[in-house]
């Protein structure tokens, strides 16, 4: 049974109502026993938790330091291709968008790798649009062994694959798979994904099951904050996480909290997640799940990122390019979305040290294990 069956049993309207009917008493109770308790997550994500934000932040900071120490992992995305066979109205890579399409050749890939290595990174996130025929399993089978020669940690954020395909890639050195549901509301999902295989909500929803069954070390979940009510989407992601942790107990989990950003031909956020809302969400997840890894991308502004660093985040990117070949030939015309924090990795390291945090470039060696 994949999460799809469990998801069908959830009454989404009822969950939404429960979030909005929480009171300060529910929040205070949740703060007493937040860990692993979905009822507490409901309260901590609710509007009633807003006056408790400082208490949540203090607790989140403390828990994060206890579990992860002062360490903050650094990673960089490497865009392999912007080809895509889907139509998603929030994404710059959408099929109908008129932009120059590109898939990295081996020499181009090596050039990107060289630049990223020179900057000191050892953890890489391979990203592509979702184009099964041109950038599918055969392409990944060629790319991952090349990348693995240079990086100790290799994560993949591409279209959902079959279990056997993930298994093959694990054998070639794949360590992590990020697969974002975008929104857990089927109606909203259908509205934003109008063409291509990504339209299949349930296939995407069952992807983490296939990833875990294939023996991938870490799975990243995420929602695109702004497509629908972020509180409800976050809670449903919490349900998904709880299901996966119980069933696939050997796997590590991370979440990513991207806010919808302007992009070529894209939509503007329907439901705005404000800065204090994002802080509430980070803290709620940290209190709910102290061992969860939380990633922060360059979508957020430098000042805001500085303040978010100590609150519960465990992994950050810095100096990112969101286009294929973008490290060698910076040029924004191929970008997936606009980034807000343009600081280099070195600048981020200085900021981290100012905040008493220790930049970790290397924290894994699957080749050894």
């Amino acid at each position: 049974m994949s999460f799809v069956e469990q998801f069908k049993r959830l009454d989404l309207d009822d969950l939404s109502m429960r979030i909005y009917s929480c009171t300060s008493i529910d929040v205070e109770r949740a703060l007493q026993r937040p860990q692993g308790n979905i009822e507490s997550l409901i309260a901590l994500l609710s509007p009633a938790a807003k006056p408790y934000l400082e208490i949540m932040a203090q607790a989140s900071y403390k828990l994060t330091r206890q579990r992860f120490g002062a360490n903050l992992g650094l990673f960089l995305p490497l865009y392999l291709s912007n080809l895509c066979a889907n139509e998603c109205d929030y994404c710059g890579f959408s099929m109908s968008n008129k932009l120059k399409r590109k898939t990295l050749s081996e020499p181009e890939l090596l050039a990107e790798i060289n630049i990223i290595k020179q900057r000191g990174f050892d953890s890489i996130l391979l990203v592509s649009g979702e184009h099964e025929t041109k950038v599918g399993i055969e392409y990944f089978k060629k790319v991952i062994p090349i990348v693995k020669q240079h990086f100790s940690y290799v994560a993949l954020e591409v279209q959902p694959l079959e279990e056997q395909e993930y298994n093959t890639l694990v054998g070639l050195g794949l360590d992590a798979v990020m697969v974002y549901q975008e929104t857990y509301r089927p109606h909203t999902y259908a509205k934003h994904h109008t063409r291509g295989k990504k339209k299949d909500f349930n296939y995407r929803l069952s992807t983490p099951d296939r990833v875990a069954a294939a023996g991938v070390d870490k799975i990243g979940l995420g929602v695109l904050l702004g497509l629908d009510d972020w509180r409800v989407d976050a809670l449903l992601m919490g349900h998904h996480l709880a299901y996966l942790e119980k069933r696939y107990w050997r796997t590590r989990y991370s979440i990513s909290l991207p806010r919808l950003r302007p992009c070529t031909g894209g939509v503007t956020p329907k439901v705005e997640l404000t800065d204090d809302g994002l802080v509430q969400m980070i803290c709620a997840f940290r209190l709910y799940n102290p061992q969860l890894e939380i990633s922060l991308s360059t979508r957020e502004t430098p000042g805001f990122r500085n303040n978010l660093l100590p609150l519960g985040v465990t992994n950050i990117s810095a100096g990112s390019s969101t286009q294929p070949g973008g490290y060698q030939n910076p040029n924004t015309e191929l970008d997936q979305f606009e980034i807000s924090d343009e600081r280099s990795a070195d600048e981020m390291v200085i900021q981290m040290q100012k905040s008493g945090l220790n930049p970790v470039w290397k924290d894994w060696e699957s080749n050894w294990f």
């Binding site: 050892d122 050997r250 290397k362």
Partner: protein
Amino acid sequence: MLTIAGHQFESRLFTGTGKFSHSKTMLAAIEASQSQLVTLAMKRIDHNKDNDDLLSPLQAMGVKLLPNTAGARTAKEAIFAAELANEMLGTKWIKLEIHPDPKYLMPDAIETLKAAEVLCARGFTVLPYVHADPVLCYRLEEVGCAAVMPLGSPIGSNQGLATEPFLEIIIEQANVPVIVDAGIGAPSQACKAMEMGADAVLVNTAIASSAAPIIMAECFNTAVISGRNAYLAGLGGVVKQAQHTSPLTQFLNV
């Protein structure tokens, strides 16, 4: 003086290298702790770099390095990591850690025993991190482990000696040093472990994550010394009734 596999340690406080905000703070805290055995995760060592900012100062301090296999989920993975530690750091001492559960980092008893057997046979000085299981500790001793490292409570939890009744049995039965590892969150808990007769304690999170790691390291050092001295001096038994220092019936013996 504590002897493990022929190596003598004046300090019975072992420390770690993870979770510090800066390598300078880490080195100062280790110095303040007086620790002579320091564990470090193999997964953090970058084999493409010289790692001199971490390793050289530790070596210059004269501490013994104890690479650990954190990240390994099977015996096979841990054995491979131990072999690499030997190759890269030139030491056959290994803290054997196998935890396939990333949530509570609970040690896998079956895989640990398998790996210990192989590594001991290959001449490693194996210090296995295990649950506080007296039979498992016996089994690890039988395959040749130089010490056992039972947990006080889950790693990094600061819950102290939650496994106290089982630690007591392990300490009573063991023929090798018992190092209480994991979960010790306060100097008083380290002191208690030493009062119970543990040969040493390993503390990382409580020092590294404290607001003042150097001061906290000093506190742990003195707590461990006090606990050990109290153990050697012999703690009094615990009874419910008061025992008068000047007994009323003493005249009958005159």
